[in-house]
């Protein structure tokens, strides 16, 4: 099937009235969670996972995807008007966006964020469409050693590129792998770490776990911390106020293009995603600018570049999941969970076995991006008001969603306690600088990692060399080693440089 035929098939699926309705619901919810500080896209997708039981797979995935890229749009509204990033990927937008708003250019900042997001999201999808089929074809040749090397590289990248200190991230990844072993051994069906409990034989449920880690922990953080407050800039009135001036378009055009490219490339890497891509895009714009001193004081490139980058990263983040079955970040791990709740394993065979679903989900993102542009521009004033929703009301809202969602998995109150336990753990982990993303990714990837490791060893008669001698797995392992050794190599290079520069001792 050619690309055009595939797109035609995709649009017939994504433009079905039910799918359009779920897409709209997803982008609307995504914008709302992007606007509301304290409730991220990961928490919302976790909260909605149980609801998707009652929905067919394609609309469920379309809705969840809409929440993710919708939250990127929503995050920019609070970043510009309140200097509060609704999403971590909007942190860089706060700096120049809010400064522009204070100078009466809130409309231009929000406008360029929305247009930049739309352009980057659309171009990112074009990249996804072009890259996904050949990558899926390549992945069909992957055997157990390649999958083991790929999961190892993924977890290494997540731990090294993510936020926080590396030993902490690695220990969280190891804990996630350990939690993934609870239940029956996937090869011999022997019970492990179940302590005689029949409930634990099925393993730890993903939904209560992620609801606790991302939802309940936020409730506890909100209960513990002071209410969120920020300096509110006046929301622009009327669509005309949102249109950037011609010179602003000229300044921002290149930044949108570069941000899109950076976001797309960084978004494919496990653990990097929207947040890191927005930092990199901002840093690049500042470095190449003839007037870097303008950054932080209302430079429109400082809004255009990070906003474009985080939206392009959102699109490219789907590539590893849809083609290899490997989530690049925690939201994609939840998306993998959603696929698996419906009995579907995303990966190289998804394209050949369920092309309607594959292309339907991808083309729905074109539809969703257009909806977001139409939705965001006229409703910015409403979203700005919603962003001021006091913690006193936001906290019970999230808490009730968490308890209902956890209970709904098996209609068992025990799952509420599991969710609560992970919530308390997530609360203390977040406060101690232990990132939760490596834990969840490792938990999701753990069973695949174990199965592929054991199968590889059985097939190779116990020879670990099989991972290094096969070209693809050898290359992936070499990359993992390079990622681990990189800080050491840089330190060594740093020590040598001054030594060379130092004058000889006379």
């Amino acid at each position: 099937m050619s690309i055009l035929e595939s797109l035609a098939l995709g649009f017939t699926v994504s433009l079905e009235p039910t799918n359009v309705a779920y897409c709209f619901l997803g982008v609307l919810l995504g914008t709302l969670v992007g606007v509301l500080p304290g409730l991220g896209s990961a928490a919302t997708i976790a909260l909605l996972l149980p609801v998707t039981y009652a929905v067919p797979t394609t609309p469920a995935i379309i809705m969840l995807a809409g929440i993710w890229y919708g939250s990127m749009y929503g995050g920019s509204t609070t970043a510009v008007l309140l200097r509060v990033p609704g999403e971590s990927a909007s942190v860089m937008t706060c700096m120049d966006g809010h400064e522009m708003a204070r100078r009466g250019r809130a409309g231009a900042a929000l406008g360029i964020a929305a247009f930049g997001s739309f352009i980057a999201g659309t171009l990112g999808l074009v990249g996804l469409i072009l890259l996904a089929p050949p990558l899926a074809q390549l992945a069909l040749d992957f055997g157990p050693p390649e999958y083991f090397a790929l999961t190892l590289l993924g977890l290494t990248l997540v731990s090294y590129l993510g936020a926080g200190e590396v030993p902490k991230a690695l220990s969280m990844a190891a804990l996630g792998l350990l939690l993934g072993t609870v239940g029956l051994d996937p090869v011999r069906s022997e019970a492990r770490f179940t302590f005689g409990s029949l409930t634990l034989q099925g393993g730890i449920e993903l939904v209560p776990m992620v609801m606790g880690l991302f939802g309940m922990s936020q409730v506890l953080l909100l209960a513990h911390g002071p209410p969120v407050a920020g300096e509110v800039a006046r929301a622009p009135r009327g669509l005309r106020a949102l249109l950037p001036a011609r010179h602003e378009w000229r300044d921002a055009g290149g930044a949108i293009g570069r941000g899109t490219l950076i976001g797309f490339l960084v978004g494919v890497l496990p653990g990097a995603g929207g947040t890191i891509s927005s930092y990199v895009a901002y840093a690049l714009e500042k470095r190449r600018s003839a007037h870097p001193e303008r950054f932080g004081h209302g430079a429109i490139e400082g809004v255009a570049a990070p906003e474009s980058a985080n939206n392009a990263a959102t699109a490219s983040g789907f590539i590893p999941l849809l083609t290899l079955g490997l989530p690049a970040n925690v939201v994609m791990a939840l998306m993998l969970g959603a696929f698996m709740l419906h009995g579907i394993t995303p990966g190289p065979t998804l394209l050949s076995q369920k092309p309607d679903m594959f292309w339907g989900v991808i083309t729905s993102m074109f539809v969703g991006n257009l909806m977001l542009l139409v939705l965001n521009l006229p409703l910015i004033g409403v979203f700005a008001k919603l962003a001021r929703l006091p913690t006193a009301y936001l906290l019970p809202l999230i808490a009730v969603a968490c308890v209902i969602g956890a209970y709904g998995v098996n209609n068992n109150p025990f799952d509420i306690l599991v969710m609560l336990g992970f919530g308390v753990f997530g609360f203390y982990a977040e406060r101690s600088g232990f990132s939760l993303a490596p834990l969840v990714l490792a938990f999701v990837l753990g069973p695949l990692m174990e199965t592929s490791l054991r199968q590889s060893l059985i097939l190779s008669d116990g020879a670990f060399a099989t991972f290094a001698t096969r070209p693809i797995s050898g290359m992936l392992l070499a990359l993992a080693v390079l990622v681990v050794a990189w800080p050491l190599l840089r330190r060594l290079a740093g020590q040598r440089a001054p030594r060379r520069a130092a004058p000889p001792l006379a």
Binding site: P167, K168, S171, G225, I416, R431, S432, G462
Partner: protein
Amino acid sequence: MTPALRGRFPGAVLLGLGFAALYEGSGLSFGSLRQPGSGFYPTLVCVALIAFSAMAFAKPSRTDASEAGEPHGHARAWLVVAAVALYAWALTSVGFVMCTAALLIVLLRGIGAVSWPLSLAAAAAGSIATYVLFSQLGMPLPAGMLGL
């Protein structure tokens, strides 16, 4: 607890968990490289957990924010924990609507300091609305002793 001890505490917990899991997993068959058993992979993971958490323990947390936050912040967080635990315990016997209303009152009034009349009204409306919504979605919610 001193700040230095507090900074090492999360690493120590993970380290202890690693050793406990290694002990618990020692009863599983390790197998060999040619035929890895059920305990092969968990043992590797436990060793990795012990090694990485020992590194985290050796380098105490700089970002620990235990001192930050509002006064009585911890008490409020633990009030939420107690309320949700009680909710899970009472849900089947007392019923969804009553339990959810009680939880909302605790969170609105006890944590958010919302006025009593508003808390009661929001709790009643919120619990009934969620009951109707999730019942419509096909989720069987416990009716409890009051039949609600």
